[in-house]
Symmetry: C2
Subunit: 360 residues, 2 copies
């Protein structure tokens, strides 16, 4: 069966201000020293198992040109622009009907565009296993597969997957249930038990399986999707897409589908996944120097430790800093203590409330 991929690239990524802006979010940033954007990395790392012409990108009109620029080899018609944001379930459904229209059926990879993976060979291997698992469901089974990350700390920022370790068959396990972001106490229990994985947001299923599940669990959404599917390639396509999509409820695939289905599998993996949640990720994505610093661009330093500087052509000179993040862009410079990166959102609210939209 054909394997196709849907890359989700509609997110805003406020935590990467001032690198990211409403007009230029995280997935279009270069956060590694190789000069490649996050979305470019996402596409390149699946090329061992998916052909470029079978890769689709789900985004919105605002970022269409950025996708074209970053992925010039991608067929332009593979860029699917959601008319409005309706969370992941309608967005994934939309990709699925484009694929059904094109391939009849296919194994569909659903992948965020703004995560990083350190060990690509291991990732490819596990992804192949997931594809096999998804493809081999029984007639009418609605088998859904996800990649789970073996946790190494009691992270409270991720959703978790409770899985049945005893069901392990060649590295594929049954999922018991999906659980929402825990508090620290619960997260510690999850970590200790060994029965939980991080929900990576990466899914693998047959187009037929996910659409059947939508028909069952989200009939409203499914109705809209079939209307859109019927209009693909006709003069009404844009208009129907707009009206049908806008009418859909906003819902995540985790809540709308995964928590309601039974035949869910997970491939646990330790392939150096990083959700690149804040600027601090730069010191995981890039090898720090002997002082723990990561410097990109025109940077000079003295007596500085564990500091991240992302500069451009303009000189950024750091003296005597510890645990600081500096990001210099054309029209704004951020200087943020490492322990306060979450407060960048506060700063953006401040800018918004002052009407300084030019910086957002």
């Amino acid at each position: 069966m054909k394997t196709a991929a849907l890359i989700l690239a509609g997110g805003k990524g406020e935590r990467f201000w001032p690198g990211s802006r409403t007009s230029h979010p995280k997935q279009f940033l270069c956060l590694t020293g190789d000069g490649k954007t996050m979305i470019r990395h996402t596409v390149e790392r699946i090329l061992p198992i998916v052909n470029m012409e079978d890769i689709y990108v789900s985004t919105n009109e605002r970022y269409r040109q950025l996708v074209y620029e970053q992925l010039p080899e991608l067929p332009k018609e593979n860029v699917i622009c959601e008319p409005v944001g309706r969370n992941t379930a309608p967005g994934i459904g939309l990709g699925a009907v484009y694929m059904r229209r094109k391939y009849g059926d296919a194994v569909m990879l659903v992948l965020p565009s703004d995560h990083q993976i350190a060990f690509e060979d291991k990732y490819t291997e596990i992804l192949k296993k997931a594809v096999d698992t998804a493809e081999n469901g029984d007639e009418g089974e609605r088998r859904l597969v996800t990649l789970g990350i073996t946790p190494n700390e009691p992270e409270t920022g991720y959703g978790y997957i409770k899985f049945d370790r005893s069901s392990d068959a060649n590295g594929v396990c049954r999922v018991e249930r999906f659980v929402e972001k825990p508090d620290l106490e619960k997260a510690k229990q999850y970590l200790e038990s060994g029965d939980y994985l991080w929900n990576s947001g990466m899914f693998i299923w047959k187009v037929s399986a996910i659409l059947a599940s939508m028909e069952k669990n989200m009939p409203e959404v499914y109705k809209g999707l079939t209307d859109i599917e019927a209009a693909i390639g006709t003069n009404d396509e844009v208009e129907v897409l707009k009206s049908a999509f806008e009418a859909m409820p906003s819902q995540s695939v985790d809540y709308g589908i995964l928590e309601k289905e039974d035949s869910i599998y997970v491939c646990p993996g330790d392939f150096g996944w990083d959700d690149v949640g804040s600027w601090l990720a730069l010191s995981r994505l890039n090898a720090p120097d002997e002082n723990g610093n990561v410097f990109m661009g025109n940077v000079e330093s003295t007596s500085t430790k564990r500091t991240i500087v992302k500069a451009g052509d303009k000189l950024v000179a750091v003296v005597g800093l510890e645990d600081v993040v500096v990001v210099d862009t054309e029209d704004a410079t951020l200087i943020c203590s490492a322990e306060h990166t979450a407060d960048i959102k506060k700063l953006l609210e401040e800018l918004r409330s002052k009407g300084r939209e030019e910086y957002l």
Copy 2:
């Protein structure tokens, strides 16, 4: 007797990088919220006792245009450019011979251009007292007067003046001796004794007195000065100035004159003097906000304390910082922890050793 002033404006001010550069040193920076440069402040604050046409600026060719720009009302011929740097004694002597040529004799104020004074009325009052004292020396006395600052901490970065408190006559005291920058132990003793003042580098004396002292204590320098004096207004002026000045030894007025003379007076004063030794001075020169921050230019902040940001039009956003100095300029941004401002010099050495002269 006429009162004239010589403003010393030839310094480099590396500690104010990247605001200051070799081409644009500290005295030409605006460090207060009123948009006036240090040198402009220096001139304006003596206008109650000196006419603009009697103010002279000692600098070098490189900064001549900056002086013209900052002091457009100053007669252009009052800008005296030293052909080479020879420390303060030859520089002051040079100013003195220009004044002797113009006025015969005068009371001469010698003032650094890069200090700040908070209480200008008090300063004017003390300066008037110093002028009276200098003017009323006996025939042939070589009376030299200096302003001393009552110390409030055991500062090791300044020279000190040991004075005779018991000699106080209407706020003017005899100086016992000048002492070099002390170590912390000594500085503490000085502070505790109450017998020491900080040497402010501000001097008041008759032109005839300082030149007589140079003739006695620095005959080589004095010989050169008389050669220059004879050439003033002739076709040879530039050439004689260059050759005679270059031939002079480099020496400070403290070491060459003050430590060798007997008739030295000091006016102790507490007029809010600040030598503006580093960027940290900005939080003394400008009123900090309720979090102890001083922000100049386009700045936004969240959760930030005791931080100084000097920005221009470009947005500088600070999040979660404490005790940091940020200075943004056209081609370079400095971010420096407050306790490491002395390391800025190290950074400049680094830039120099890498041949990055464009930033110096």
